[in-house]
Each structure stands twice: as structure tokens, then as C-alpha cells.
């Protein structure tokens, strides 16, 4: 059962090559942005400042990852726990409401969620984390529910027949079988959150969105390009990392 959902072992380096390359490009761009100055000069020939220098790119990257990471960890913890709780006999009553809420919440635009979090929580990192958490929860809850519900009744029956307790069935049978679908939900959630966190720099959170916003405000396209390049590379690194973790995904 376990082997069925794991990929066959492959030479490790080539397996992790794509995420590694994206990651190296990202770090390289963070540290070596000033070397690219002639290139950005093409986009902004008249401006004095070409390279965004109000903060180190690596610091901005760290803050971006911190906000997304905290929100993702909380969302995974709460989301998976909630989905498990409503599929146990004691919490079954809540299942219809939670699953409807999770699918309805998907239609909420992330920007609107972020904008609505600010009046309640003020400016800064906190509303961004809360908005990312709320929005990131939904794909995780929905996919965990889908994963747990999709398990063949015969499998659960067999596990019960083997004398497994409820907890053992959950940890050894249900969660491993649902893992690929749960992971797909986490991937969606994190991808959306990297994008939404960037918009968070309009509400006072400092991260990789800063150069873009500052570039738009000051009419400096070079800043915009630097921020966009880094966020794009970050999103691609994280996404390709998930693609390797996720068995049976197309790329």
C-alpha cells in the first residue's frame, strides 16, 4: 500500500534538478542583482536609481517566506485536523457545512479577503498572515476531505477486520492513501499564498512585493521588473519542489 503511492527510487540529483536550478537562480538573483544593472538600465535609461536599494533582496525574500511559511503551517495544521475531525463519527454532523463552506470559500478572491482582514486587524504582517491562513485553509480542507472520502470502503473494512483501532486506521491507512490529494491541496494553497503575500506589501507588510509597489508608485519600471523576477522565481522554485514531492503529477 505504501509502495503503491511512492515513486520508484530514482537517481536523486536528477530528480531534484528542476527545483534546485530554480532555487539557485532565485538566490543568485537576490545576491547578484547589481550585476544585472546594465540590463535594467535598458528598461529605465533616464533614472538615477536602477537597483532597488531600500532593503536587501535576501531580507525581503526571507520576510516573504516567513509570512507564507507561518500561514501555510497553520493552515495545514488546522485544515487537516478539521477535515479529519469532521470525517470521524463524533464530528460527522459538521461535515456537510464544512465541505460546503470550503467549496464556497474558493470563490472568494484572495485580494478581497486580504482587504477585509485589514479593517479588523490593522496594517502590518498580522492581517496578511490571517488572510493567507483563512484563504489557504480552504483548498487544504477540501482536498483532505476529498482524499479521505475517496478511500474505498473495502479498504477501511479490511483494516477494521485486521483489528486496527480508529487511530491506527487513520495513521496507517487513511492518511497515507489520501496523501497525494492532500499534498495537491497544500500546493494550491501555497502557490496562491505566495502571490497574495506580494499584494500584502500594499497593507504595510514588507516583502518581495515592495519593489513592485514602489516601482509602480514612482514610475520606475526597473524596480517593478526586479520584484517581479524574484517573486516569479520564488513561485516557480516552490511549485517545482511540490511537483517532485507529489507522486504522479504531470511534471
Amino acid at each position: 500500500m505504501q509502495t503503491a503511492i511512492r515513486r520508484p527510487v530514482r537517481p536523486t540529483i536528477s530528480h531534484w534538478l528542476a527545483p534546485l536550478v530554480w532555487l539557485l537562480l532565485l538566490l543568485g538573483a537576490c545576491w547578484g542583482m547589481s550585476w544585472l544593472e546594465p540590463l535594467f538600465r535598458l528598461a529605465e535609461p533616464d533614472s538615477r536609481d536602477i537597483i532597488y536599494d531600500r532593503a536587501d533582496f535576501i531580507v525581503l525574500l526571507g520576510r516573504h517566506l516567513q509570512v507564507v511559511g507561518v500561514a501555510a503551517l497553520l493552515a495545514i495544521g488546522i485544515g487537516v485536523a478539521a477535515a479529519i475531525a469532521v470525517t470521524r463519527p463524533a464530528g460527522r454532523d459538521f461535515l456537510p457545512m464544512v465541505s460546503q463552506l470550503a467549496s464556497m470559500g474558493q470563490t472568494f478572491p484572495p485580494v478581497a479577503v486580504l482587504a477585509l482582514a485589514v479593517p479588523v486587524l490593522g496594517f502590518g504582517n498580522l492581517p496578511v498572515i490571517v488572510a493567507l491562513l483563512l484563504y489557504g485553509l480552504l483548498p487544504i480542507v477540501r482536498n483532505t476531505l476529498a482524499g479521505l472520502e475517496s478511500i474505498d470502503g473495502g479498504v477501511a473494512e479490511a483494516a477494521r477486520g485486521m483489528g486496527m483501532t480508529g487511530g491506527q486506521r487513520l495513521w496507517r491507512v487513511e492518511l497515507p492513501l489520501a496523501a497525494p490529494i492532500i499534498l495537491a491541496g497544500i500546493r494550491t494553497s501555497v502557490t496562491i499564498n505566495i502571490a497574495t503575500a506580494a499584494i500584502g506589501s500594499t497593507v504595510g507588510a514588507s516583502n518581495l512585493g515592495d519593489p513592485i509597489i514602489s516601482g509602480i508608485v514612482n514610475g520606475n519600471i526597473a524596480y517593478v521588473l526586479q520584484g517581479a523576477l524574484l517573486i516569479g522565481l520564488l513561485a516557480l522554485s516552490v511549485d517545482s519542489l511540490f511537483a517532485r514531492l507529489q507522486p504522479g503529477s504531470p511534471d
Partner: protein, 383 residues
């Protein structure tokens, strides 16, 4: 009969937040921070007790959830939702000093949470009380009517309404721009998507590459994509006068539309491809056996059978586009996002709401309408 634990927990949350949090906040003008007022500060003890009655009643009904009790609980929940706007009118009259024309009242956390919890209760009850569809529609109409009535009657001091009054025409323009951008993006990506999906069916080699590229585009965060499009478009419009004459530049609707199309392509192509590809081979065989030509099979079998899946793609891209267009306001594309970012800039939260609430409602409406349409045209009728 087991008590309905969902309704009971919802009502307990409602009771706690209703009594514990601020119902409205009142400010003398737009600049000073508002001062929170609890439920007790608005209508005194008699008012608080009256407002608690329906909540307690639902709590009791949920203890023994027979069919009749749940139906009654549903009516009470609707009643509470209908009463909320009228209650805001009372709150405005009680808390806002009429001699200050600038005074305004913002909706507080207790009321927002009440709306949310009551909607959750409505979802729960709708799953358990079978109703014919016209009654179903009527249920949602009542609270909306009451909201419209109170807005017309006497909600002058409501801050959201004041923000709207000041920029009535800008608001309508923004909604128009928003809808125009979304529908243009969906329309263009639909025709492009159908073409691409057909091409992929024709040249299977292109399929893997195409999907990889579209996946790649989808991964790039919206703000980054808008930013990356800025430079080449600005360069192009500098270079070619006719592009500039069309209104294309680095800032504005052109990069927004391009980015929206880029994002819409993946769901559109994927769904169209799946729709055309995954028709049951037996059905195609049967059609061929009846002597249909390839073109006939495509028009009369594949397309009608695949239409619901294509519509699903349209639904995903429309809902996604409504949200992304809000971000596009940052690069000057207009739309409702402008109010959000203006509001955030001025720390005027009611202005943020004026942008965010319609976006939310538009997304929910588009989702519901397109889902209903998909259900309607599904071959074999509604399920």
C-alpha cells in the same frame, strides 16, 4: 433523537459574540477613529433581551430537531437576517448625533460575525429542510428586501453608504470597467482556448509542451505578471504610434487584459481538451455506426456532451478573473480594486469595503449562475 450539534454550536458562538463584541462603531467624521458601541449601548436591556429571544429559541429547537422544529428554526434564522438591517437603522438613530452632518456609523464585528454565523446556519438548515425551489428563492429575497428598504429609509449615517454617495458615478464606472475587463478576458481566452485545445488534439506532440507552458504561466504570481508585462508594452507603445493611439501602454487596461488572458488559458484549454477528448468511445462508435461524418460527430455528439465541462472552465476563469482584476487596479486598469487600494492608502476602511464587498458578491453570483447553467444543459437533465 440526537440534538443538532451544528446549530447548537453556531447559536452559542452567535450569543457570545453578539453580547461580547462591538455592534457598531461611531465616529464624528471620516478622520477620527470610531468608538465601539455594544448591543447594550444601543437599545438598553429590553432591546438586548428581545434580540436574544430568537437565538435562544433556535437553540431550544435544535435540542430536539424534528422536521417541524427545524422548519421553525429556518424561519427564525431568516427572521434574524431580515431584522439585522432594520436593527442597524435603530442603531444609527440611537448612536449618531443628528446635529453632526459628518458623523458616521460603521458596522462592527458583532454584526459581521452575526451575518456570517446566520448564513452558516442557513446552509446547515437548507440541507435538512426540503423546500420547493420558489420558496427557496423567497427565503433569500426577504433579507435582501429588508436591506434595500433600510438603505432607502434611514441609513444615512452608515459609513459605507456615505462613501458610496460621494463617488456614485465613479462606483458605477468601476463596476462597468471591472465587468468589461473580465468578460473580454473570458471571451478572448475562450476562443483562444478552444482553438488551442483543437490544435492539441490534432498534434499530440504539442500537447505536453502546451500544458507545461500554461502551467508555468499559472504559477507566476499576478502582481509579478502585471509587472513583467509593463516593460515590453511600454516599449512597444513607444515604438509604434498606432499602438499608442489604441490606448495600449505599459500602464492601464492592456497589460491587465493580457495577464488575465494568460491566467485564464490554462483552465480553459484544460477543460475544453478534456471535454472533447473524454467522450465515451462507445458513444462515438455508435454515432459512427449510425453513419455520421466526422464533422457531424463533432457538432452533434462531442460538443453537446462536452459543453458542461467547457462551461465549468468558463466558470473557473470568470471567478478567478473577477479577483485578479482587483489586483489590476494597481497598474491603473481601473475597476473596483481602485477603491480597495485607495482605501488602504487613506486608511479609510469603509472605502476598502466599498470595493471588496461588490467584488465578493460578483464572484459568488457568477459562480452560482454559471453552476446553475452547467446543471441545466447537462445531457440527461438535472441530477
Amino acid at each position: 433523537m440526537r440534538p443538532n450539534s451544528v446549530l447548537i454550536s453556531l447559536m452559542l458562538v452567535l450569543l457570545a459574540t453578539w453580547l461580547g463584541l462591538d455592534a457598531v462603531s461611531v465616529a464624528a467624521n471620516r478622520i477620527v477613529p470610531g468608538e465601539g458601541v455594544g448591543v447594550g449601548g444601543i437599545a438598553g436591556w429590553p432591546g438586548v433581551l428581545t434580540s436574544l429571544m430568537p437565538m435562544l429559541a433556535v437553540l431550544l429547537l435544535a435540542w430536539r430537531p424534528t422536521g417541524r422544529h427545524l422548519r421553525l428554526a429556518l424561519m427564525l434564522v431568516i427572521l434574524m437576517l431580515t431584522a439585522l438591517p432594520l436593527w442597524l437603522v435603530v442603531a444609527a438613530a440611537a448612536t449618531v448625533d443628528p446635529s453632526l452632518p459628518q458623523a458616521r456609523m460603521a458596522i462592527g464585528p458583532a454584526v459581521w460575525i452575526a451575518i456570517f454565523v446566520l448564513l452558516l446556519a442557513l446552509i446547515e438548515l437548507r440541507g435538512r429542510v426540503p423546500l420547493p425551489s420558489w420558496q427557496n428563492g423567497l427565503l433569500y429575497l426577504l433579507p435582501l428586501l429588508s436591506l434595500a428598504l433600510s438603505l432607502m429609509l434611514d441609513l444615512e449615517p452608515l459609513a459605507l453608504r456615505q462613501e458610496y454617495q460621494v463617488r456614485k458615478s465613479a462606483f458605477l464606472t468601476a463596476i462597468g470597467e471591472h465587468l468589461l475587463l473580465v468578460s473580454a478576458a473570458v471571451g478572448i481566452s475562450l476562443s483562444l482556448g478552444v482553438g488551442l485545445a483543437m490544435a492539441m488534439r490534432h498534434w499530440p506532440r504539442a500537447q505536453r509542451f502546451g500544458f507545461t507552458l500554461l502551467n508555468f504561466l499559472q504559477t507566476i504570481p499576478s502582481l509579478a505578471l502585471f509587472g513583467l508585462l509593463l516593460a515590453p508594452l511600454a516599449w512597444l507603445s513607444d515604438r509604434y504610434d498606432w499602438l499608442a493611439a489604441l490606448g495600449i501602454s505599459g500602464i492601464g487596461w492592456a497589460p491587465a487584459l493580457l495577464a488575465l488572458i494568460a491566467y485564464s488559458l490554462l483552465p480553459m484549454v484544460r477543460n475544453t481538451y478534456v471535454a472533447l477528448e473524454e467522450v465515451d468511445p462507445g458513444v462515438i462508435d455508435a454515432a459512427r455506426g449510425m453513419g455520421m461524418s466526422r464533422a457531424q460527430i463533432f457538432r452533434q455528439v462531442r460538443l453537446p456532451l462536452g459543453l458542461p465541462v467547457i462551461l465549468e472552465g468558463i466558470r473557473i476563469t470568470t471567478v478567478q478573473g473577477i479577483g485578479l482584476t482587483a489586483v489590476a487596479a494597481l497598474i491603473g486598469a481601473g475597476g473596483l480594486g481602485r477603491f480597495i487600494f485607495q482605501g488602504l492608502g487613506q486608511a479609510a476602511m469603509d472605502l476598502v469595503l466599498l470595493g471588496a464587498l461588490p467584488i465578493l458578491i460578483m464572484a459568488l453570483l457568477a459562480d452560482a449562475l454559471l453552476a446553475a447553467l452547467t446543471e441545466k444543459i447537462r445531457p440527461g437533465g438535472t441530477h
